[in-house]
């Protein structure tokens, strides 16, 4: 529909009448010839590596050194980078690189065993020297930028991305400090690898759970705060960093689902019915069945995964998700029973 002109005098703006005719003419002329579409060449991003070394670093924490079987140089990485490990079970897990970026023949990652978790860490702990592992990356969701002054805050296994940052900051002579927290000293990996002097270790068994002030103290203007640890710790730091400092934290995964109930999703186009367990989002389950479904933030704000709801009642969990004819499948769920989606 050609729009009216800008002064409201004509129903069809002559400018757009002309543009429309010209553009359609071009498209019609081009369509005289059948389109020549080159085949898309697939790109395989998966590297097959070998476990070179397994080391116990702390209670329930092991580090794994991964390298190519033929010892070739691996793609480089920067502090804050991570690898995607594709486990034999089909699980995909992301682990921060915690070795030396100058070591181009091996990647080091560290994993805390969480028996109550999704099973990935248990599987990682079963790996032995010589085992094959498929990985993708490295990629960086926690980039380390040049600043004069850093305040690092790490909680437990959250030390993994912070360790190469601390080492780099120390090497280039920046002013830095690190507060490293955990349950007990024995649960903290890499204490022996941290540069001496500016590290404050704070454990719950000695000082109780840390407050935001314990974590951050006084942050001078212009400090870059780099924080990695459990979600409540990051929230506490976020709430207490002033606008004169910059805040950097890793946003790996969407927040865990709280109080979710299982339900079923029916995909209208294929008629398939997918059970959604209490601890997974509808999006995750749908992605297993339809790998090309579009989504983005996985936190209910960007709106990319909005999907039409044909039947069933939706429990909206995102502020931007209203009405019953569509839902953001990354966070919203059915009130129970089954919903039918336009997919």
């Amino acid at each position: 529909m050609i729009p009216p002109d800008l002064r409201g005098r004509r129903e069809r703006d002559p400018f757009w009448v002309a543009v429309n005719a010209a553009f359609n003419g071009i498209q019609r002329f081009r369509s005289l010839r059948a389109p020549a579409l080159p085949a898309v060449s697939p790109v395989d991003r998966t590297m097959r590596l070998t476990v070179l070394e397994v080391r116990r670093e702390a209670d329930d924490v092991v580090s794994l050194r991964l390298g190519a079987a033929d010892g070739r140089v691996l793609p480089g990485w920067q502090p804050g980078g991570h690898l995607d490990v594709l486990l034999p079970s089909g699980r995909r897990r992301q682990y921060s690189l915690c070795g030396d970026p100058a070591d181009r023949r091996a990647y080091r990652i560290a994993v805390r065993r969480l028996p109550e978790g999704g099973g990935g860490s248990v599987e990682m702990h079963e790996l032995r020297e010589g085992d094959a592992v498929a990985v993708q990356g490295p990629r960086n969701a926690f980039p380390f930028l040049a600043h004069e002054r850093y305040a690092f805050v790490a909680g437990g296994i959250g030390i993994t991305p912070i360790l190469p940052m601390v080492t780099a900051a120390d090497r280039f002579g920046a002013d830095w400090s690190l507060v490293y927290t955990g349950r007990t000293r024995a649960s903290l990996p890499f204490l022996d690898e941290l540069p001496a002097g500016r590290v404050t270790v704070r454990t719950d068994d000695e000082g109780g759970a840390p407050s935001a002030a314990d974590l951050l103290g006084d942050v001078p203007d212009g400090t870059a705060v780099y924080c990695c640890g459990p979600a409540p710790m990051i929230d506490a730091v976020r709430a207490s960093v002033g606008l004169d400092a910059t805040l950097h934290y890793e946003r790996f995964a969407p927040p865990p689902i709280v109080g979710g109930r299982p339900f079923e999703v029916e995909l209208r186009r294929s008629g398939r019915v997918l059970p959604v367990p209490a601890d997974r989002s509808a999006l995750d389950v749908i992605r297993d069945a339809l790998p090309d479904v579009a989504y983005s933030c996985r936190q209910g704000f960007c709106g990319t995964c909005r999907t039409g709801v044909l039947s069933g009642a939706v429990h909206d969990r995102a502020p931007s998700d209203q009405g019953d004819d569509s839902m953001l499948v990354c966070v919203s769920r059915a009130t129970g029973g089954r919903i039918t989606l336009d997919l």
């Binding site: 898309v40 790109v43 990629r139 969701a141 380390f144 930028l145 280039f172 606008l243 927040p255 983005s296």
Partner: protein, 297 residues
Amino acid sequence: MSVQRPPVRPPEPENIVLQARDVRFDWSDVPLHWIPRDPVATHLINVLHMLLPAGEEWFVKVFKEAVPYVRDDRLREDVLGFIGQEAMHASSHDAVLDHFVEQGLDVRPFVRQVEFVFEDLLGDRGLTGDRKRAWLFERIALIAAIEHFTGVLGDWILNAKALDEAGADPMMLDLLRWHGAEEVEHRHVAHDLFMHLDGSYAARLRAMGETITMLGALWHRGHRFLMARDPIVRGRIKGGMRHLRRTGPAGLTPSGRMVGASVRRYLSRTYSPLNEGSTSQALAYLAASPAARAALR
């Protein structure tokens, strides 16, 4: 011997994972002429607010359609991150338009024309089979050309000190710089997607030609429209792209010369968007942006 700081600063970040950022803006205190006493420069930038909601929604729609054709896991991740960032840009600029209308600047007639461009002219066209796919790839070439400009403009706004010196409204500058920084951050995605799916140099040339013509026309008409409709200016100054001859060198808007030079770089067969703008500067801004910090999640 003097002791010098070793020159091993963190390098330019690479392989960045793109994630949408939740942002919060409050437009209620932003004046209509947010570059004080300069409605001409204000409106040259305001044209963006009228183009972006429809334009970026169109990006999202086209890219969603492209996801199934991608045969590269990493590029797919980039495309999904890009989509989320663009969706946030579109909705944020849309809110500025409501604020314009509240202040007596009714932008709806022009927005309607912009919607015509993106929804009709560049919309679905009811094609099937190979023709549908060819039209999809053609539009991806157009998005890659447009994204060249958004990256260049993003880099410009991050460095536009003249706007701070002119006393431009901080909330508006934060919107433009948050958006500009994300454009710099994801500047390679549309080009990478096009090169992966099609990669034809002829299509890139065609897309750049169409983009320059279309954006030039929209910008010129949009500025004339805003200057004519502005309740304070009331048409006493005629709008148009000729004003860039003053505002460009003054640093209040991008200059024609800078944009022209960037187009010549785009036309090179070895063009890489990564050579436009600085990832570290963009990421540093995003870590400090009040809007990105205001959304406590």
